[in-house]
């Protein structure tokens, strides 16, 4: 059994809703930078960036963009000793100091990924602020971390599957029972 909680249409409106809120909250677009958490967060981040640039009426290249991999900062590497995930690129090609960083991931659940991502960010400098945006908040936090921008809330301990056009050919979010 599986529940489709976002189809391609509602996926798009969720991305647009997040982008609009980010835009409304960050009037000074020149201080905004976007960072996506590997790997699905990166695809979402690119779309949100395009949307924000459109709303601000500026070119996409005007908004600094980076990617971030948390593998080396995980807190469960001891339990994972049999299998460390493949490490993907962390590329932050701009000065994060005095920037309002929009940190983007597909799902927030325990909050541990975001904790690790914040530690990565802090090793790159001292941003003015970090604002978290996620497509789905599935609840069950283990750390005191909340997202500022949320596409949809769907409290569930079931496995969530996020598909993106870029890798899976379709935009869809499914909970698998």
């Amino acid at each position: 059994m599986s529940d489709i909680v976002l189809d391609s249409k509602s996926f798009k409106s969720a991305v647009n809703k997040i982008s609009k809120e980010i835009s409304d909250n960050n009037k000074n677009i020149h201080e905004v930078a976007i960072i996506g958490i590997q790997s699905k967060g990166v695809f979402l981040a690119k779309r949100i960036l395009a949307e924000i640039a459109k709303l601000a009426g500026i070119g996409m290249s005007r908004i600094p963009f980076g990617t971030l991999d948390i593998t080396l900062y995980r807190d469960d590497l001891d339990d994972l000793s049999s299998k460390i995930p493949v490490i993907k690129d962390t590329v932050i090609p701009f000065d994060t100091n005095r920037k309002n960083i929009i940190l983007i991931d597909d799902v927030i659940y325990t909050g541990r990924t975001v904790r690790a991502a914040l530690d990565v960010l802090m090793d790159f400098g001292r941003p003015k602020s970090v604002q978290l945006a996620v497509l789905i908040d599935r609840g069950f936090r283990e750390l005191p971390i909340e997202a500022k921008y949320v596409g949809i809330r769907y409290q569930s301990e079931e496995l969530v599957k996020v598909e993106c056009k870029e890798t899976d050919g379709v935009d869809r979010v499914t909970f698998i029972k």
């Binding site: 001891d78 000793s81 460390i84 490490i87 090793d123």
Partner: protein
């Protein structure tokens, strides 16, 4: 992405898949070096001990920097001032270090097989940093990675090892790795410095450098161990220079863009001419940088026996 072993004793025991796993995972570690904070918390709380029974500066320092950039605590055992001079056995030394909760033991020893003995007797992860004339796996891996990074492939590359193959653990580790990855490997040097059965490994043997160097993609020059000169393995340093020094003129016969490698420390003017050592094709300093990234990858990829692991 992990190796299925607790220890890294040699490249002879790794298969092609393992080697490829290591090659694929070095890049992210290397990319850390361009950050202002080069340290990541991956091995925080872990203890790495270096136990070097033979002199070394670059390998030991490289491991120390690698471990520190992963946030591990590093202890360097000074063999000359330790209980080892009082006659403590290798296994007892290892057990003592393990009782101090060492998670990784990095050992260099003049006897081939010393790291294997520790690996069999200890739960800590053992990394061989050079044992006798046997292997120096992390050097082999950093050579492999440097070629892979520069040439974007290993398969089909023509690699020439020049010099003292007999006493070189670097050569042995290189040969094991390159052959598994599909490179064509040849060695050249004075007959007294070439092991008699080396062809059995699938290596081509030359005694004439001018012939061997033709159309190669990589020249990996080994250090002439001048301390062995008294064993009369070659008549004179002067003759060695005449016959086996890698010079600009000789390199003209190699393929364009030939990579010049040397594991260090270099004897300029002996196995390598000074202009070759400083030429744009030389990647000798990059080998040193890559060495740190490769050792970080190895430290992360080994699968230590940990107390709370479910398999225990």
């Amino acid at each position: 992405m992990s190796l299925n072993c607790k220890d890294l004793l040699g490249l002879e025991h790794l298969d092609k898949k393992d080697l490829q796993t290591i090659l694929n995972s070095v890049g992210p570690f290397k990319s850390l070096f361009t950050r202002s904070v080069k340290k990541v918390p991956t091995l925080v709380g872990k203890t790495v001990v270096t136990l070097f029974y033979e002199p070394s500066t670059r390998t030991r320092n490289s491991f120390e920097i690698a471990a520190k950039r992963l946030s591990a605590d590093v202890v360097n055992v000074a063999v000359n001032t330790s209980s080892i001079v009082k006659g403590e056995s290798l296994i007892d030394t290892g057990k003592t270090l393990e009782a101090m909760k060492a998670d990784y033991l990095i050992i260099r020893h003049s006897l081939a097989g010393a790291p294997d003995i520790l690996a069999r007797n200890l739960n800590a992860s053992i990394i061989n940093a050079g044992d006798g004339f046997h292997e120096h796996p992390t050097q082999g891996l950093l050579d492999l990675y440097t070629m892979y990074e520069k040439k974007k492939k290993i398969e089909g590359l023509r690699v020439l090892l020049v010099g003292d193959i007999l006493h070189s653990r670097v050569a042995k580790s290189n040969i094991w790795a390159m052959i598994k990855m599909g490179a064509e490997i040849a060695v050249v040097g004075p007959p007294t410095l070439i092991p008699s059965n080396i062809e059995d490994l699938g290596v081509k043997v030359y005694y004439d450098l001018n012939e061997a160097i033709k159309k190669v993609d990589v020249v990996n020059i080994l250090r002439i161990q001048l301390e062995r000169q008294q064993e009369n393995l070659f008549p004179s340093v002067h003759e060695y220079v005449e016959l086996y020094q890698v010079t600009k003129e000789r390199l003209a016969m190699a393929r364009p863009g030939v990579l010049i490698m040397h594991p260090g420390p270099m004897n300029r003017g002996i196995e390598i001419s000074s202009d070759v050592a400083d030429s744009p094709n030389a990647v000798i300093n990059e080998q040193v940088t890559n060495g740190i990234a490769v050792r970080m990858a190895v430290l992360c990829l080994l699968k230590p026996k940990r107390k709370n692991a479910s398999s225990d």
